[in-house]
Amino acid sequence: MSAVANGFAALDGIEILAVDGLLAVSALGLLLVDVAMPAGNKRVIGYGALLLLGLAFAATFTLDLTGTALSGAYVGDGFAIWCKRIFIGAGFFGVLGGLDSTARIGPRRQGEYYQLLLMSVLGMTLLAGARDLILLMVSFELMSLPLYAMAAWGGIGNYPEQKGPIPGMTMPSKRRWHRPAEAGLKLYLVGAVSTVVALYGISLVFGLGGSTRFAVLATTLTGGPLLTLAVAMIVAGFAFKIGAAPFHMWVPDTYEGASTPFVAFLSVAPKAAGFAALVQLLLGPLAGMAATWTTLVVVLIVVSLLVGNLMAVPQQNIKRMLGFSGVAQMGFGLMALLAAGSVTAHDVASRGVRPEGLATLLFFLAAYMVANMGAFFTVEAVAAAGYTPGKPADERDDDDTLPTFAGLHSRSPALALAGLLFVLSLGGIPFAVGFWAKVWVLLSLWAAGFGWLVVMAAALSAAGLFYYLQVARSMYMKAPVGADGTTLPAVKVGGGLLLAIVLLALLTMGVGLFPGPVMEAARIAAGL
């Protein structure tokens, strides 16, 4: 009898998992719909996923998701809810911007793509509230495994040269057909190894603390060489996931090989989730080890800023360039984490420092999501025009290179303007949203006492402007002429991709002009 009563007691507060439940039901429901539907173009499943993600996003505002559930293993607080909005928003835009591309790549297999995407988002939203090592790792894997499959999605099986083209499908070149498999494999190998490395560190944390609950671990973990090793392995494992240098080598290859709308999702959502996991572990049970992990994070920041900004400059493929720029952006995210971890209660009392690190991280992740997804969608819009001069026929659709942006201003003024806005935001130019994010991160890090790091980051960001402005120069200053002298065609964007770019551009500009309310919301979410 009491066992039954205990079983029900574990369900107390389960209503704060409403959004996660909705996502789980959505993912499984879409799978059933996919199976039940007659074979053919399954675009409608994409609309379903869009609607359900929109509902889940609205639910994070209308439902009260604060509280504790699963006997303390799951917590809904401002941080978790803010993260959920980022994940669900990224999923929403990922589906919206990818509707056409997904239908083009695999019209009959679209259903599984959206189902995988919803599963991945579910893993992220669960991760945002996890306060238990088991739940943390399970939700982290639920997030990662669909991503491996989605990265490889597209180039399934043999190139259909004998059977002839598949009806309703624009055939990519042979070279491009094989690329997603390679992109998926590279993402998988790095992701799987980094998961196991982090898991080993977590097994040590479990062993030294004697519990899987963060609340217990926070009191039982004391330190020592074994815990230092555990912290190092956890930081390294998650640094792989967020693609911070020197653990970034998978980033450019996977970005180049996988389909662009998927990369838009991959480049923001799992990285925000990696930060959520780091925040929960490092500012939670491992807060006592701050001296160790802040040192490691400083190293990651310095290397990320250097590698990201310097390696982005020579890239001709714009997706690879955005990959390296993302590495540098992760440096900024880690700076916010560093600021959150280094301001102690003593600083607050004696120097009047505001512990704003966590709020800046939340704001930064949202700003990065909006601008980075927008930039990738702009690349997709230009690439979908599908014309590359001066290349052999079987590389015709290998068109993510900088020259395809030449004279975009005269070919498609609105798209060029949106693209300009996104790269300016990523570069941190006023008054796009990315500017406020970077300035706020730097200010909080300055207050935390890392003046030298602030100076270095500011200098390298200024250097980083070079490659962002290179794109702007190509769009605005160059004639719309290809390498072989032919005039580049106008770029027509329509449907979901257009809507996604417009919405993201409005967000980038709107929050950039009026950052106050969103920053205040981030402060509240961080519990300030």
């Binding site: 399970v138 491996y148 690329r179 998926g184 799987a192 190894v193 290859d253 180049e256």
Partner: protein
């Protein structure tokens, strides 16, 4: 069953660390993707060994439950990995990592 005291725990942890290092060596040196996956499995089993040893040392069921979950996670992970290897083999007629070198780097 052997009671796991401090000494036994230490031995088990050393065994786990050895297994992990062996797996990592395999992952870093193998060029064949199947070999890579085997190395990955070794690393995952080192984690399982750690968890079981710690679980027995502390008593209670937390460690065993955690281990069940990590075993399930590893199975799912390797299943996805093998699917990707099959995909690679279909497109390149090889399971060597060098076959997947179309993207720079």
């Amino acid at each position: 069953m052997i009671p796991v005291n401090g000494e036994v725990l230490q031995l088990l942890l050393i065994l786990g660390a050895g297994l992990f290092a062996l797996g990592l060596y395999g992952v870093l040196t193998r060029k064949n993707t199947i070999g890579l996956l085997i190395g990955l499995e070794l690393m995952a089993n080192a984690v399982n060994l750690n968890l079981v040893a710690f679980g027995r040392y502390h008593g209670g069921t937390d460690g065993q439950v955690f281990t069940l979950f990590t075993i399930a996670l590893t199975v799912a992970e390797v299943a996805v990995g093998l699917a990707l290897v099959i995909l690679l083999h279909r497109s390149r007629r090889s399971t060597d990592l060098d076959a997947a070198a179309d993207l720079h780097g």
